[in-house]
C-alpha cells in the first residue's frame, strides 16, 4: 500500500480554470502538508494542517486553499489558475513526535501544467 498517495499525477489545464489535487495518507499521521517544487528544484512549503490548525505560508496566494475532510486527507484546491502555478506539487505527512524532529513522508508528486 502506498503511504502517501496523490492524484492526479499529471494535470494539464488552461489559465483561469479551477482544479484540485487530492492527497491521502494511510500512516496514521496527524499532520499533513503541501509543498510546491519549482523548476529550480526548491521545495517550498505552502500549508501545514494538524487537526484543526491550519498554518499558511504567507507567500501563498489566496487562490490556493487546502481542504481536509478528515485526518487522512488534505486536498489542494486552486482557483483561477495562472501560468506561474505550473510546478510539481507534493503532499506530505508526519507525526509531530517532538518539536524540531519532524520527519516527512512524501507522495510521488502531481505535475501541474497551465497553458
Amino acid at each position: 500500500d502506498t503511504a502517501v498517495s496523490q492524484t492526479p499525477k499529471y494535470l494539464v489545464t488552461q489559465m483561469g480554470n479551477d482544479k484540485s489535487i487530492k492527497c491521502e495518507q494511510n500512516l496514521g499521521h496527524d499532520t499533513m502538508y503541501w509543498y510546491k517544487q519549482d523548476s529550480k528544484k526548491f521545495l517550498k512549503i505552502m500549508f501545514s494542517y494538524n487537526n484543526k490548525e491550519l498554518i499558511i505560508n504567507e507567500t501563498v496566494p489566496n487562490r490556493f486553499s487546502p481542504k481536509s475532510p478528515d485526518k487522512a486527507h488534505l486536498n489542494l484546491h486552486i482557483n483561477s489558475l495562472e501560468l506561474g502555478d505550473s510546478a510539481v506539487y507534493f503532499c506530505a505527512s508526519s507525526h509531530r513526535a517532538s518539536l524540531g524532529a519532524n520527519v516527512l513522508t512524501f507522495g510521488a508528486g502531481s505535475r501541474l501544467t497551465v497553458l
Binding site: 502517501v4 509543498y35 529550480k40 528544484k41 526548491f42 521545495l43 517550498k44 512549503i45 501545514s48 498554518i55 505560508n57 504567507e58 507534493f90 506530505a92 517532538s98 518539536l99 524540531g100 524532529a101 519532524n102 520527519v103 516527512l104 513522508t105 512524501f106 507522495g107 510521488a108 508528486g109
Partner: protein
C-alpha cells in the same frame, strides 16, 4: 535568511565514499538535522536524522560535530542508483519563524 547551506552539486564514481556537508550556523537547541534524497519524478525520501555525534543506518552515516553548526552525510560505496538530489533540513522552521522550505539541495552525480 537561509537556515542551511550545502554545495549545489557533486560528482563521484561508483564504489567511492561520498561526503556531503551542510552548514547550519544558526541551529537552535531543539533542532534535529534531517537528510532527504530525491530521485527525478519522485518525492523526497527520508534518509537519516540526528541530533549530535554520529548516527548510522543501513543507508548512510551522519556526522555532527560538538558545536552542531554543520553536519556531514556520508554515503559509503555509492552506485549509479545513488544519483539524486540530497537535501539537508534543520528543525521545523526557518530563522523568520516560517515553516521550513527545503533549499536547492546537492545534486549528486555518480559516474561509472
Amino acid at each position: 535568511l537561509a537556515k542551511t547551506t550545502q554545495p549545489i552539486s557533486m560528482d563521484s564514481y561508483e564504489g567511492q565514499e561520498v561526503n556531503i556537508t551542510c552548514s547550519h550556523n544558526n541551529i537552535a537547541t531543539n533542532d534535529y538535522i534531517t537528510w532527504y534524497q530525491q530521485f527525478p519524478s519522485q518525492g523526497p525520501r527520508f534518509i537519516i536524522q540526528g541530533y549530535k555525534t554520529k548516527v548510522t543506518n543501513e543507508v548512510a552515516s551522519l556526522f555532527i560535530p560538538a558545536d552542531r553548526k554543520s553536519s556531514t552525510l556520508s554515503l559509503p560505496r555509492v552506485s549509479l542508483s545513488d544519483t539524486a538530489v540530497y537535501y539537508c533540513l534543520v528543525g521545523d522552521v526557518d530563522n523568520a519563524g516560517n515553516m521550513l522550505t527545503f533549499g536547492g539541495g546537492t545534486r549528486l552525480m555518480v559516474k561509472p
